[in-house]
Symmetry: C4
Subunit: 232 residues, 4 copies
Amino acid sequence: MTLHKELKREAYEANLEIPKQALALYTFGNVSAFDARQGVFAIKPSGMPYDEMTADDMVVVDLDSRVVEGSLRPSSDTKTHAVLYRAFEGIGGVCHTHSVHAVAWAQARRAIPIYGTTHADHLTVAVPVTEVISDEAVARDYEEETGHQIVRRMQGISPQEVEMIVVSCHGPFTWGKNAMKSVYNARVLEELAQMAYLTQSIDPLARELPPAVIRKHYERKHGAGAYYGQAR
Amino acid sequence: MTLHKELKREAYEANLEIPKQALALYTFGNVSAFDARQGVFAIKPSGMPYDEMTADDMVVVDLDSRVVEGSLRPSSDTKTHAVLYRAFEGIGGVCHTHSVHAVAWAQARRAIPIYGTTHADHLTVAVPVTEVISDEAVARDYEEETGHQIVRRMQGISPQEVEMIVVSCHGPFTWGKNAMKSVYNARVLEELAQMAYLTQSIDPLARELPPAVIRKHYERKHGAGAYYGQAR
Amino acid sequence: MTLHKELKREAYEANLEIPKQALALYTFGNVSAFDARQGVFAIKPSGMPYDEMTADDMVVVDLDSRVVEGSLRPSSDTKTHAVLYRAFEGIGGVCHTHSVHAVAWAQARRAIPIYGTTHADHLTVAVPVTEVISDEAVARDYEEETGHQIVRRMQGISPQEVEMIVVSCHGPFTWGKNAMKSVYNARVLEELAQMAYLTQSIDPLARELPPAVIRKHYERKHGAGAYYGQAR
Amino acid sequence: MTLHKELKREAYEANLEIPKQALALYTFGNVSAFDARQGVFAIKPSGMPYDEMTADDMVVVDLDSRVVEGSLRPSSDTKTHAVLYRAFEGIGGVCHTHSVHAVAWAQARRAIPIYGTTHADHLTVAVPVTEVISDEAVARDYEEETGHQIVRRMQGISPQEVEMIVVSCHGPFTWGKNAMKSVYNARVLEELAQMAYLTQSIDPLARELPPAVIRKHYERKHGAGAYYGQAR
């Protein structure tokens, strides 16, 4: 019997979006869904193909990454997820993919410039990029330290306003109010990464969007007087 | 009971072409269908996923963007559509997408050069690009002013001969004799944008098509003695 | 009653490969199938969407491009096809697409270098590119002259050994022993064009394949002692 | 009656992955499955379309490439496979594709730099590239010599740790513990090739991944204390 049926189903369905949105190959990538009240999250089992797993295969762990339900080994990136849940109050899902354009910016170790309104519809700054992880941090606790790299880079930035980052040399991590929203952000990030790539190829000196347009696009969707979408 | 059943169905079916032709993600993009006799147009509801909406969800508004039928909030770009219907006599549909190559040219703030006959089959000049919108215009009425930017850039150009534009830092707007034709133009624009991108990557000094070939291709499809397509 | 049922079916099925292989949008592109004994070919009707046409809609014309069977107007590129059938002995099909990478090379007005064995499996030289058509030729008879441009560029080259060309500023034309083979060549050309594009992006000074490898790959597939494929 | 039913089925199913993963067009590419005990392998018949062949069409050959079962001619690359089975102890499958990004690196005659963790999850060095084959080797025995080129380039490298290579001017060859794993490696190689291409386009001076991260990623998946995937 499961104590976390709904949480596991939420994680499962969000994970299935990764192959559906072509955000990673084979077993790559992982999504988790967080239950803040209980302090646990459900995450993809490590190295399992998306089309073979079931909702019941999701592994439930606590914020110290100890398995509390499930017989499989959780994603090798579990500790990174745990760090984000501990640090970013109010988030309910974390997603990690290897989508190609976002990975390319990560491998080039560059923030993704805010060139247009598609970007400003989602965040008001360049998509941040972490520092390259140090040899010491790798030796200490690689996945935990990857989380700390992200949190450090997000200092002074609201994780509600910026729900995506690229980890240098690695790839994208995104989050959101729930698991599905974190995958939505991963898909949007891949699109922004591709658009920025193409823009810079057309004009290596392309300039960022004027601040007034950034603010306008973000506010009409997320501000106090937002008028994008339906009243909720 | 609806007074605009046919108009809403036309808008609905044209909107469904956006995901089908892969011109935008999730809820991005919007198409409208115009009834010139009644001075109203039907448009996609704001922020609604394409696969969840029905024909009946389309919102009918007048040329001042006031809702005349429908319970949902119309697309946040509604005022831009209204400006185009007021300015461009004879058009029956407007489409806005975030297709990646067209957006890249918009973000690079460049017109799309007319490099080949695929382009000349549809228009005789580079795809125009608007000025970057001013901070004042953003503050005044952003979506209305986006429409004015387009109309200003189109001065001296026939909206029947040039049915597409890229709005600087934003993305493509297209129009046509009806809603479906405006989406057709959006798909063609994305193809022209990709072809021009690849051409410029192969040769940064690529030259535009000779005027005689431009004229020939356009005329055989759209001129008085057109012989492309079937007699109508 | 039709005198050319089989020929029309051959043309029809080959035309359907164009959208299936994603070689052109909407109504773009056209394929024809040639009956050398009767001196006629069946070709796609002009401007007709691929998913609306039937085998019976194919138009049969003679080598002067006069319609001998069918009630629709033949492709606007019919005269170009006719020139190729008159000039290239032994071919049985011609295909014209607007596939994006092949068009990009055409728009850059460059031959596609023979960088690798995928290319040498099909031809032993760079994919030729025509001259840009002159204003006089455009005025005289555009489609006929496009055929002459191709034939002129192919002088001294065997149309059995080189079954593909890019027409400057326009796009690819391919041919083969039958209609389906001409579309096969169009798909292969698009692949070679993409591979060459990527190669040149990685190394703008990339060198062509050594002659011994070119000859080996071509001969093992097409030479007297060919050992690729099954005995026929 | 077949003596190698299972082996042929393994080869057949692995070959079907090539079109499914979009790793080659039409009849291009080939996979083989090796039975080390009997010293034979089953391979795709030469020049046969993937959707027309059956498991029974697979050709079984010995390590001298002599047909021991089957009525069709084996892949023209059979001798290359045989060389690899003779040289790389413990492998059970070989795959050759013409996937576009891997071919582009091959045509540029460059190793694929190890820019990120997706790469380090699979191997700890740049994907090796062979020398360009000499005219003498082409004349001697082209396919056999292609195998020798690969083996020579792999000297001092474990074929268990590096299961992929690009053959200069030609394309990728991959291998693995069985046929399906060799195709998995071909798909991964294509992804790494695309990511490296994009990375280098964003920053032509992009640096390789720090050694500590390379080692960490490889070890967590393949080392003695591996914790990626499920216990086996």
